[in-house]
Amino acid sequence: MSDPVLRLAGVSKRFPGVLANDNVDFELAKGEIHALLGENGAGKTTLMNVVYGLYKHDEGQIFINGQEVEIHDPNDALAQGIGMVHQHFMLVPVMTVAENLMLGHETTRGPRLGSLSDLDDKKVAEDVKELGEVHGLAVNPGALVQDLSVGAQQRVEIVKALYRGADVLILDEPTAVLTPQEAEELFRVMHSLIAEGKSIIFITHKLKEVLEIADRITVLRDGKVAGTTTPSETSESELAAMMVGRDVILQVEKKPAHPGEPVMKIQDLQVRDQREQMVVRGVSLEVRAGEILGVAGVQGNGQRQLVEAITGLAHVEDGHVFVDGKEITNLKPRAITETGIAHVPEDRHKHGLVLAYPLDENLMLQTYYMPPFSKRTFIQPKAVKENAERLIKEYDVRTPSITTHAGSLSGGNQQKVIVARELSRDIRLLIANQPTRGLDVGSIEYIHRRIVEKRDEGVGVLLVSSELDEILGLADRIAVMFAGEILAVMPASEATKERLGLLMAGVQETPAAD
């Protein structure tokens, strides 16, 4: 049995505060498609970035065809025949395909003048056409990258790796940006590449794909290898279980909910992203007073745009949003806030706080223009101070003073500041988007408790989270979002990790007796 084309032995990679890859063993045989499966944050991309030379591993070894190698940068990786197609394309938009392909490794003609030689775009164009014919990867060498469709750009990235002589191709979530048809095209190309003798590592979180295309599957969870198997030996539910684990759910003390009238109704909402793609495709949801509706889903399936649209930060293409029967579709953020909505945003540094501001100013960020914080254009420092002192005490924010800059607080305390500000208002609906991401256990518990408290006071809560444990622990009803659609809505009592895991990975449920 010949050596595997690529072998990782005991590879670990540490970042400040987190062990991204923990003693990982991995093998890629020649001519196989090996899927690397896992949730967001499982360490898949980090591992492959190590292989590609973008990161340096802290422990472990890398072997290529049985020989140990040191990979310091992408040039080394490419020299070893390893190419990578990243999730966010590394293509220069204003340059042509040929220029992007050549970059760093240019083909020249005529007198050898070093870096001032004439670029040979003709030859590159010919080579590209040839490569394209062999693999069915048609790319126009003269086209500007920014004029190409996303699927075409991805083809360019693949050709770029092949052009540099890659035998091993790493594809990072390639179908995340493709339509189903383009994904089929991609699979065809992959098979053709395998036939040529290449080997492929395919990073994904989508179960269906993995079973369709992979020869072998390795599941990563929390930086460790959870298991390696083949499609014939496993099933979707088993893979889902490996992905999400059987950890103990964070128990939250929760009385049963007493939901009342709907506070928010979302009807057939459609939202486009910056690249004109439809990322929210007809979502309909209802949040009732006194209940927590959890929206589960892997990040990148439209949740962010959904929340932005209903809070007035993104444009609603089609559909309606109502609060207490009043339409708020496409109103300005302030008008929406004034209907009684609180929002704990996903990106706390970008939208939630002004890091350069002291805490007391952050704590009045949404309502600074109203009494008691201001009277007739003048800010009332006493009221600001009192509010800050009260909230910091009430929400147990650890800080040297109320005038400390928000930027010097820990993540947990920063989030508590945002929660304090939003929850201390008189609200009808709370929208919490990834509210405990990156926080320590103590802060997570605290924020969960507060959310449940609000729910018990009769506030409706829309909880969007990619942390399954959080959803299962808090929500009264659970909806699962995938590829811009709501695949299912169910009472929490009917939800299990496996069931949710499958839905989150895009596996539609066959209609069962309800």
């Binding site: 973008l54 940068d73 992408p74 040039n75 490419l78 990243h86 590394m90 293509l91 220069v92 938009p93 204003v94 340059m95 220029e99 992007n100 050549m102 970059l103 760093g104 490794h105 240019e106 020249t108 003048l113 870096s115 001032l116 030689s117 004439d118 670029l119 003269g142 500007l144 920014q146 004029d147």
Partner: protein
Amino acid sequence: MDTVFFVGILGLALVKATPIAFGAMSGLMCERSGVINIAIEGMMLMGAMMAFLGSVLFDDLTGGNMPQAASLVVGLLAAMLGAGLIALLHAVLSIHYKVDQIISGTVINLLAIGITNFTANAYIDPNGIAGVGVFPVITIPILSKIPFIGPIFFDHAPLVYLMLIMVALLQYALFKTPWGLRTRAVGEHPRAADTVGINVNRRRYINVTLGGLLAGLGGAFLVLESVGRFQKLMTTGRGFIALAAMIFGKWTSVGALGSAYLFGLSEALGVRLQLGDVNELQALALLIGLGLALLALVFAGLKLLRRGTDKRPTRAIGIVAIAGLALIGAALFINWPPVEIPIQFLGLLPYVVTILVLAGFVGRAIPPAAIGKPYEKA
């Protein structure tokens, strides 16, 4: 108005355009690599002073035994050195110390003004130091005899020829060589360049310094081809006009030359207006006409090279070209009534046009995408 006069103006315009073109190319080198450069003015000023000092000191040290040309060349080299050093300072501040690039540009300008004024006041003026002279005009045989075009392009001092060569060289280098490809990548998408093994910050250091050298040439021109001596603050804002030319020329050296020529033309017309040779309205018509014709030429050229995403249809270019030529013809052959337009307003042209370009009224001014952001490896 006769052809001799017309040709004379066009030739003078090229001369006036030269320092601006050098300055624009300097800005180009920096900004294409992703570094904002509002210090072209300061770099040109340093270049001017060093050109003067370099040539004079060389002449002194060799006891006047060397031919004038040698001293002038030494002055040129000194200019490049001085401007290059101060450009290196800009690079260090903005790349290594990650100082905001506009502030570091301001620092350079302040220091350049301070140093050059100081040196002039402390050393040059009190001692009444005289310059070594200027570069002689070199008339290229045969080519300068070509009717109409000859006298405009081939009857100038050497730095003008150098500028034209640099424009062509830079255009070629930027779009047709590996150096240019990598430079542009670094300015547009440094992370992509990094992933193929290009050293982003080193490239920026080198290009900013090279930009300094070019600005130095621009400053040297002011001393070694015009007045022959150094005067305080003699750049009078040309560094900023060069910025405008760079933007108007869409960050290409051919475009920069075209814009610089336009600005040089308004300066040349201003000179002739004061001599009473030209009528204000006539001058304005000529200017606009030539401007339109030039615009059409540049757009047509860019379209031919298939660069840029301007989707202007060929028909529009044609219309603009014809309008331009028509105005030129009108300017030359109609007898215009004298009108009282203050001369100064002609000098407003570069600045107003830049604002219009920036506001998007005359085509979109899209700088390199990664400009202004210090690059950090992940």
